[in-house]
Symmetry: C4
């Protein structure tokens, strides 16, 4: 199977990015003029909130990437570069997360700017994933090709996810917190809405489905 | 085999988290008003202690994860998300470790709070692992299914581990150091008590066991 | 296949290095005497510029490494050490990137020095990759050996890439920004110019090509 | 093959540790009271020196680990924990490296202490690797078992490597720089002296050797 190394490298990037997220949770040690640990933790809630949303987002894009890749029958050079574009945005997520965590309560439009950056990075990731998906189905690189109906439903589903991030950009101008919360809701939406690659073989098919791996 | 990529991503997260633990060992360079290296190292013992306990804990959960995963016959989407929940807590361990190391000797209940957070993260990890185990045995996703007796013994064993972390939360209010030490003991307990997945085929079986890989 | 672990380790290093690049994007939180987020981001453009160039460079060397490795029929100890030399330079890229980002606008020849270091690291990486390629073709370690004509064209192509970095060193003395931009152009050049390992079997061959994996 | 995941996790740890080494190369940005970049780089030579030695050391232990693991016919639980012990020391290397780099020129015995810690970590890593090797040959877990003569030669070779680190501890009290240089020499020694696992099948054997993977 040819997609092994694409997955290995991508998994490495996903794993490092998701683990680096937690570096921003760090709070300094105790000191003479420092607030107590409890006060620091309470004050630090934007970091925990942003961490949870970003963890869920990277986790879900990993699950969907996994579901898509194991259905690839062939990897061409264009696919590798679209995948790199996806990873470019994934690698930006820890930066976007620490920025929104630091500026979530800042005034003068700074929180909105941080939220716009955050949503922009997620939107970039989502568009890259959609490109990956489209390239795969348009070049018939899938082991279990989608029916036109499945492809249509998948496109609608991707559109909903991306619309979520675009609405998130709009909401960012009103409230950075609401915008970040929306990203959390989009993540939860993706948990229950599966990327429709590799459908189960319908029971009326007489021949056994192609083995998946 | 379908669990390859689940393992690859999980291994990546485990590997990054376990290696990031050591970042907190760092002590600053020499300087005009700095204590000597020996004094700094002696003063820095909570970081070394917390590092050793957390390394052992992540190491053991990795070994058990490895033992469980190689027995999975099928990975479904729910399993992927339970696994993400497990990784969520694993990724929190470097944060919890640096917090308890920094506050282990702080007063005013701060050390207890740090220890409660630490034990809470380990408890969350342990519960997630138990969920992973239960899901696998309840859906008959194991290549070598457990006998009811083995499943009962495994549940008891998981319970002991989790009870250890819950007791650790209780002890945290009396002594953060004792609580951290207890986590070290739980880790050592898990070294000698194996997750009972993939039992050896009993010698009285007439047919050869299913090959493991 | 013997190159599995060479690739797994290399992928790990590539993945960590490419993800660490983004750590330098971090900007501090808001504060009483701090400029606004927008001002900080605008002032921070060298970090974003250097990040984009370095991401593209590591991404492309990964794609080429992937293309080369999957054609290896045998890995010997020398190959492992040449690969380590390549990784030595890859690991240096986050350092070189943060240095050029910090000094891109510094005066007194400091920006030139930073750009020379940056180009030197990329040149070292490029030379190591060429060594890897030469060792593989000279020892006939390739599953699909190159024709002399293909090997010649490949050598010319590597030469162009390396010349780019050497010219980049020269340009660094005039303008660090132009030098960094040139590295970006070299990266884009490599996107469209493929490492010519594993050519497609010409259509006039009567026998099917050796399967790739 | 059963050693896949042991290798994947170990490779992850090796890859992260070797890449984190370079984080200590970072030098701050320019500033009003800062020395120039050239002066900073010149002053920073212990970090570059320590980085080179540690990179070579981790790189070589990875090559030897790779050579050993691919000959494992079976992984038992004890082997997993010996491997974790090895990784424990590998994960300590970035800490030991940054400490020796920071204190290489410090006085009052501090440089010696830093060098003793550094050599101690390398010695711990080396002993763990020898344990891994002994466990594998004593339990006959190797696919290509060693002849008694080969095992004896291997033991001598490991002994030379470990003696190097122990001498390094002794030299540390006289000169931390010489001690660090000795570790570099040990690394170079290991490049040319191969772990003698998986010998080539002698030509007089009538039956073909067991395939390696």
């Amino acid at each position: 199977m040819d997609s092994n190394r694409l997955e290995a490298f991508s998994d490495g990037v996903f794993a490092v990015a998701i683990t680096l997220l937690a570096l921003d949770l760090a709070i300094g040690g105790p000191g003479p003029h420092q607030p107590t640990l409890a006060a620091k933790l309470a004050d630090h809630w934007p970091a925990f909130f942003a961490y949870a949303v970003s963890f869920a987002t990277i986790g879900i894009i990993w699950v969907n990437h996994h579901t898509l890749c194991k259905n690839f029958s062939e990897i061409d050079r264009t696919l590798l570069f679209i995948n790199l574009l996806l990873l470019f945005f994934v690698v930006c997520i820890p930066f976007a997360t620490s920025t929104i965590a630091a500026y979530l309560r800042a005034d003068g439009g700074q929180s909105s700017l941080a939220a716009v950056i955050y949503q922009g990075v997620l939107e970039g990731m989502s568009i890259s994933f959609t490109l990956l998906f489209w390239w795969a189905i348009s070049r018939e690189h899938l082991r279990d090709p989608l029916t036109p109906d499945q492809a249509r439903r998948a496109t609608i589903r991707f559109g909903i996810g991306q619309a979520g991030y675009i609405i998130g950009i709009g909401i960012a101008f009103a409230s950075a917190i609401a915008s970040l919360a929306l990203s959390g809701i989009v993540a939860i939406y993706h948990i229950f809405e599966q990327t429709p690659v590799r459908p189960k073989a319908p029971p009326d098919q007489g021949t056994p489905a192609t083995p998946a791996t």
